[in-house]
Amino acid sequence: MFLLDASIMGRRQVARGMFVIGMHAPEIATTVRAGQFVNLGWASGPLLRRPFSVYRADGEHIEVVLKAVGLGTAQLLAMELGDRVSCLGPLGRGFELAGANAVLISGGLGVAPMPLAARDARAVGMEVTWVHGARTAAELCAEAGGDRVIWATDDGSQGIQGTAVAASPDAEAVLACGPNRMLAAVAERWPHAQVSVETYMGCGTGVCLGCAMPLKRGGYDRACTEGPVYRAADVDWGALPSHLAYAVGT
């Protein structure tokens, strides 16, 4: 785990309202694994840091993908090149990659951990199918990876009409990220799937117990430390808060 002052190095748009931000964070870039996240803070920002999956890591840089959903993400998107962000990471447990092939299923911003997952899966010789869904074509993340790409939109404006889960083939390894509702559907179809789940986080480092993930076997795990990647069958989907904005929409 490292705590760095990272300079913003670039920003590009990848879907309607969705942007990728690059920052200079060498120690994290070289150690991060797919599914891990960084916790970002900045001067005059909100009190608590904000967690973001690492989208890509390349040489000395990492990238995160985000939309302005609240104060913190809006401030991050308003930053200029060269502005500094305090970057804590890599945090959490990432995906475990083994087998002959993998399907990477993401809905909306759930695309966040997938470029790294595609990279790491292919590095261990897996054949990767990339399935990405959103409400409309405009909301699909334009960047895709893997050996084969399947698009899905609710309104059929691009790719298959329907959900990413429905559009997805089976595979030895199933990796998924997106709204909780989508992940619950993944859990039904592939209990062994690895899902990256969002929770509110206080610290990101395992000391506050704020990120409780309800487990099927009872009790709670820390999503920041034992997660954010879980076996889909291990999560008690019914006990995950359903009235949170992020748990409802994409």
């Binding site: 009190l47 506050c208 117990l209 409780a212 993930m213 009872g218 006990a239 808060p241």
Partner: protein, 304 residues
């Protein structure tokens, strides 16, 4: 010469005045990135006799300059602490106190009895912000008699240093402070979180599943400084200030207001190195003012 910052808190010698607050540092095994030299002491996450699952999520919500938490004292229970953590603590070069909780005065006593003498456990911090189940859910911390009863119950079972952590939700903190001092506390910690609530306007219900949570962070600092100061004026035992400390200057406010040491909580979430930076900042302040030790820091502590 580096100014002296070691302090004696009710019989416990600490290398520095900056401590990790209960519930914000786990059991110390995580301690990410922190240089331990700076840690005066660690107070463990609050424990009960038996394991507890804690509250359903969401457990935290951010508010202006603060956060609400309703962790629900999730923990493995006393036996796991003795088995899994105390042996590690015994190896460490700073003292670890256990934050103890119960639903009746006797439960607190039992917990202390079980932990007393276990190597690695340097003392106790009694959390009296728990509901007193025997008295219908009223809080121990609000009632001087109940607070004193808990303190006595623990005092009888241990000779280890005994700190009592006060709740801020009282009309007169001095009354509670004096009651637990008389009941045998070696030091006081002021304060625990304030009860607060935040509403989710999409769901038309509280953001936290437990409905209310404890407010911590800079938002409460002026309230905490006042309460710690009032407690320090009321008793002769040391008072440890807690609440909203982010920078060295914040810690110094508590120290000038009459506290002997401070605890840092939420700041560690924001910056894992906060305690070390606050420790170093206090050193720097003393040096810049030409003060050769913490004892020389001018205090503002008028006695009534």
């Amino acid at each position: 010469m580096t100014p002296g910052v070691s302090v004696d808190i009710g019989g416990l010698r600490l290398g520095g005045p900056v401590l990790a607050a209960s519930g914000t540092f786990g059991y110390g095994t995580e301690v990410p990135l922190l240089e331990r030299r700076a840690l005066g002491a660690l107070v463990s996450k609050g424990i009960f006799l038996r394991p507890r699952e804690g509250s359903a999520p969401p457990r935290i919500a951010e508010t202006p300059s603060g956060m609400l938490n309703a962790i629900g004292l999730q923990g493995p229970g006393v036996e796991a602490v003795v088995r899994d953590y105390a042996p590690m603590w015994a190896e460490w070069d700073f003292p670890v106190l256990v934050n103890i909780n119960g639903e009746s005065a006797s439960e607190y006593g039992e917990l202390a009895a079980r932990l007393d003498g276990v190597p690695g456990i340097a003392g106790f911090e009694i959390n009296i912000s728990c509901p007193n189940v025997e008295q219908g859910g009223l809080y121990f911390g609000n009632d001087p008699r109940a607070a004193a009863a808990v303190t006595e119950s623990v005092r009888k079972r241990t000779k280890l240093p005994l700190w009592v952590k006060l709740t801020p939700m009282v009309s007169d903190i001095g009354v509670i402070a004096r009651a637990v001092e008389s009941a045998g506390a070696d030091a006081l910690c002021a304060i625990n979180t304030f009860v607060g609530m935040s509403i989710d306007l999409n769901a038309y219900r509280p953001r936290l599943s437990f409905r209310t949570g404890g407010l911590s962070g800079p938002a409460i600092r002026p309230l905490a400084v006042h309460l710690a100061h009032q407690a320090a004026r009321a008793v002769d035992i040391p008072v440890i200030g807690v609440g909203g400390i982010i920078r060295a200057e914040d810690a110094l406010e508590f120290l000038v207001a009459g506290c002997s040491a401070v605890q840092v909580g939420t700041a560690t979430f924001v910056n894992p190195k906060a305690i070390a930076e606050i420790h170093d900042g206090i050193l720097g302040f003393l040096e810049a003012r030409g003060l050769s030790s913490l004892a020389e820091l001018p205090r503002y502590l008028p006695r009534d």
